[in-house]
Amino acid sequence: MLKRLLFIAGITFTPLLYASSPVYIFTQDSYKELLANNDNAFIMVLWSLDCPPCIEELSMLGDVYHKTDNLNLVLVSTDSLSRMAEINQQLIASGLSAIDSWVFDSIPIPRLRYSIDPGWYGELPRSYFFTKNHSRKALSGRLNAEQIMSWLKNNSQVQTYR
């Protein structure tokens, strides 16, 4: 029945059904949970379907992710929940469907932004580099592979380039 509904609606649902990893809803408590559940250094990247440099960055992140074996990455889409199908399609297209991925809950965006960082003004992409002890460095704008590799070198126990 579900598939029938999807067929009628003309929406490609397959990626969501078969995505390697579910996309979680990012609530006002999620940032704290993310920290509590990440014992290692990690990078959190906020992105949107409406942001061209974000899409370019996702492609780069996908490449780096597949070339390394220890990129601890968390992706958070700031798009609305109603765009889940598109979000999943993009994650798959960027080779990032296995990444820990979140999408903003349907509550006012300023609240969610504030829960992460009152000093973030909504520009995208926005990245946070966390050390193992969760001190963080925020960066606005598109990252490049060198930044990721350099961070990996400094923050990982073992790092190999496949």
């Binding site: 942001c51 006012p108 003004y121 520009e123 995208l124 704008g141």
Partner: protein, 423 residues
């Protein structure tokens, strides 16, 4: 954490099914363009037997006609609608559909349907229709010469039909009836990328109509390398020519603002850089400027920037000779002051913007009685603990208002002369 994830997964599944069902309803609605209204409410947005209301849209635009009637353009489920209010947004007419054939319509934050009226009562509506590929779209336009009873068949204003970006349009009508559209255009980027060349950002293009919107002149480029996701601000001056303010890309990645005025209708002047905040970022700020022109062709500019030294909201005035005052910061940067609006009338200038204090979104206003030389203390106009749209300043013949739509209170006009004590 685990429990949260399971709940989240369930939530997503339920939501998707719900949306799909709603999507089917929406499509059904779209084919019932002539459905008789029956006082739809927000809960009736997906009811095929009811016409939608303003509560169904996230991003409306409004303007006062000389008659004092408020006209609002908004979109829902593939249609741009126009409705009006004769009692300052307390009640609205039934919505009139502008496009009889449904099409996708951009209606979020920076990009929403626009509406303008001329001094003879004609109504002009523009919007962006996204195409199949992401970040692409066409600029659409329609007009009504019979007080909104009927609208012309929408036309595409961009004369380049590559599947690329022609989006974030701004609409303005001059006193002589000329209609101007300016937008962010990626036709040159499209061409460059086909030739395997890099092209940064978009370009600013414009066109105009001198026959009431029946047709538009050949598109003209104003500048290459504009920022690509910020709204464009445009007003017309006393010479019936447009003045445009937008976020531009300078050098490799410096996102500052540029302004252009025109020598004649088909001759844009040289764009000049008006902000020097040096926000260097390869990102989408999603945060465009605003512009108002007072009677003496004095330009009042507001913008947001996030440079290392200069950050937050800024106001600046340019006089007839284009000499600029030093930018004046306003709003509380630490409370995420954002999305500014500016309005001017003779020597009076109003600013509005939004802030977030951790719990509430707050609509602020600040007023100057001396052409922006000095400012009163900022005043809170309204607040909400629900979500809200940007605020927009507008005025009828004697009163200034701020349009603010919140998900809890809906579309409201806040008369702000009451706050300043002026009439």
């Amino acid at each position: 954490m685990r429990e949260l994830n399971i709940n989240s997964k369930m939530k997503i599944s339920i939501l998707i099914v719900g949306l799909l069902i709603a999507g089917i309803s929406v499509n059904s609605f779209a084919s019932h363009d002539g459905a008789k209204p029956s006082g739809a409410t927000a809960s009736g947005c997906s009811d095929i037997n009811q016409l939608p209301t303003l509560d169904c849209t996230p991003a409306p635009s409004s303007v006062f006609a000389d008659s004092g009637r408020l006209w609002v353009a908004w979109s829902y489920a593939g249609h741009v609608y126009v409705s009006y209010s004769d009692d300052k947004a307390k009640t609205f007419s039934l919505p009139m559909s502008v496009n009889s054939t449904p099409e996708k319509i951009s209606a979020r934050g920076e990009n929403r349907p626009k509406i303008a009226v001329n001094n003879k009562g004609a109504i002009y509506v523009s919007w962006t229709t996204p195409l199949k590929k992401r970040f692409t779209g066409n600029v659409r336009f329609s007009y009504s010469n019979d007080n909104g009873k009927t609208f012309s068949r929408p036309i595409t204003v961009n004369d380049n039909l590559d599947i690329t970006g022609h989006r974030f349009e701004a609409l303005s009508v001059a006193d002589n009836g000329n209609i101007y559209l300016a937008w962010l255009d990626k036709r040159d980027r499209f061409k460059a990328e086909k030739a395997a060349k890099k092209y940064h950002g978009a370009a600013l293009y414009y066109s105009w109509s001198d026959n009431g919107g029946k047709s538009f002149h050949q598109n003209q480029k104003i500048i290459d390398h504009s920022c690509e996701c910020c709204r464009v601000a445009m007003q017309t001056d006393s010479h019936n020519l447009p003045v445009i303010l937008w976020r531009n890309i300078y050098g490799k990645n410096t996102r500052d603002h540029a302004l252009v005025n025109f020598k004649s209708v088909d001759k844009p002047g040289e764009p000049q850089r008006v902000s020097f905040d040096n926000w260097q970022v390869d990102a989408c700020p999603h945060h465009g400027p605003d512009l108002s022109i007072s009677n003496a062709d004095t330009y009042h500019l507001v913008w947001f920037n996030n440079g290392e030294k200069n950050h937050g909201l800024f106001y600046q005035r340019l006089n007839e000779k284009q000499a600029a005052t030093a930018p004046v910061p306003f709003g509380n940067y630490k409370a995420a002051a954002s999305h500014p609006s500016v309005l001017s009338k003779e020597n009076r200038v109003w600013l509005s913007w939004k802030e977030f204090d951790g719990k509430k979104e707050i609509l602020w206003m600040q007023y100057s009685a001396d052409n922006g030389d000095s400012w009163n203390i900022p005043v809170q106009i309204a607040q909400t603990d629900a979500g809200s749209d940007y605020g927009f300043l507008l005025m009828d013949s004697k009163t200034v208002y701020i349009q603010w739509k919140t998900s809890k209170d809906g579309f409201r006009l806040y008369a702000i002369d009451k706050v300043t004590g002026r009439d």
